[in-house]
């Protein structure tokens, strides 16, 4: 049994990729085999916290772009990044990065790609790497590709900041996800000013969307200072963010067994 979890936000800059990387590390720390796919093809970035140097051709050959253009199988685009993590974990993390070459990003915009391949690729990756969990880091906002990730996911996590633009956009996303019959949906409120009453914000957000808030993550200077140069929860395991996300990670895999 495996599980696909999509991490999405309506707007950019919510901390989606860092949260995805943190959850991947925490789930792997429980002994699971975790895949992470960067489907944010227009603005990829999750390779950074995993320390994968996409510019080093000795390390990285194919990317997700190559798979979508039919140049390779999706398993050829996966790189094990477990050893790049600051702390040893008992499981494994594999990353499917998207290309950061400007020419390849513009080619994608110009020529497009076969959306069906993305759908099939997730399943093939789970099989090829014997994954327990596949985390999909999506492109923010709503597009056909994002809707596909949302539609086929087992769990949808929507990240928002305590910002009124985020609130409005999240309402749209929640509405669309419900229309797509998403099996399980939860929210993460990120970058909360520490002066806020967290329980009050949680209650308000849950009432607003009729959806559970699974984690409340405070704004953190340590997170900002880390600047994506590593996986935060491994660097600061006792931080409140690490504790919140550890609880969520445990919950996400509770039905998978150890």
């Amino acid at each position: 049994m495996s599980k696909i979890i999509s991490i999405h936000s309506y707007r950019g800059g919510t901390g989606k990729s860092n949260t995805t990387a943190n959850l991947a590390a925490l789930i792997a720390a429980q002994g699971f085999r975790v895949g992470v796919v960067d489907t944010d093809l227009n603005s990829p970035g999750i390779h950074v916290p995993f320390g994968l140097d996409l510019e080093d051709e000795n390390v990285v050959g194919y990317t997700l772009n190559d798979y979508l253009w039919g140049n390779c199988e999706i398993k050829d685009t996966a790189y094990e990044v477990t050893k790049n993590l600051d702390t040893a974990v008992s499981g494994h993390v594999f990353l499917v990065p998207a290309s950061i070459k400007a020419g390849e990003i513009t080619r994608l915009l110009k020529d497009g790609y076969d959306v069906a391949l993305l759908n099939e690729g997730f399943d093939d990756l789970i099989t090829a790497l014997d994954l327990d969990v596949l985390l999909v880091d999506t492109h923010p906002g709503l597009s056909n590709e994002t809707l596909l990730s949302i539609a086929i996911t087992d769990v949808l996590i929507i990240i928002l900041r305590p910002d009124h633009q985020d609130y409005q956009g999240t309402a749209v996303t929640v509405q669309v996800a419900r229309k797509l019959d998403v099996l399980e949906m939860m929210l993460i409120v990120n970058k909360l000013p520490t002066v806020y009453d967290f329980s009050d914000v949680k209650r308000r957000v849950e009432n607003l969307y009729s959806c559970e808030v699974a984690a409340m993550l405070p704004h953190s200077d340590e997170m900002m200072a880390l600047a994506s140069q590593g996986v935060f929860v491994l660097r600061y395991p006792n931080h409140v963010i690490a504790r919140e996300l550890a609880q969520l990670a445990a919950r996400l895999v509770a039905d998978l067994g150890a």
Binding site: K101, A102, G103, T106, L109, K110, D111, G112, Y113, D114, V115, A116, N119, E120, D123, N144, E145, L147, L148, A151, I152, V176, K179, L180, D181
Partner: protein, 109 residues
Amino acid sequence: MENFSDWQETLLHLPLFPDGVVMADMLTLPAPLGSFLRRVLRMRQLPLSQLAQLLQLSSEQAAEIGQILVEKGVLQRHVTDAEPEYKVRFAPKSKTRLSDQVWNALGDL
């Protein structure tokens, strides 16, 4: 929507999707069909027997509905040694509509 004639009636008014469907179609198609396609998508690819279960029709009736959906361009059918299998037929991603001038300017990237 468990009745064969109801399905036939619904599909009668379904437009053609010559290039396949996009995800946005799944949000705008009539409720029983949209819901059906979302379930097919979640199951990735399903044999005729499962299609029949999903539609709550006999195999023969499901094959007929499947055929209409294939002809309308929303499903793909794969013939296997056992029974035919169906999956959602997606349209390729639309190309960005920028002028050639713009792409030429980006050509050196």
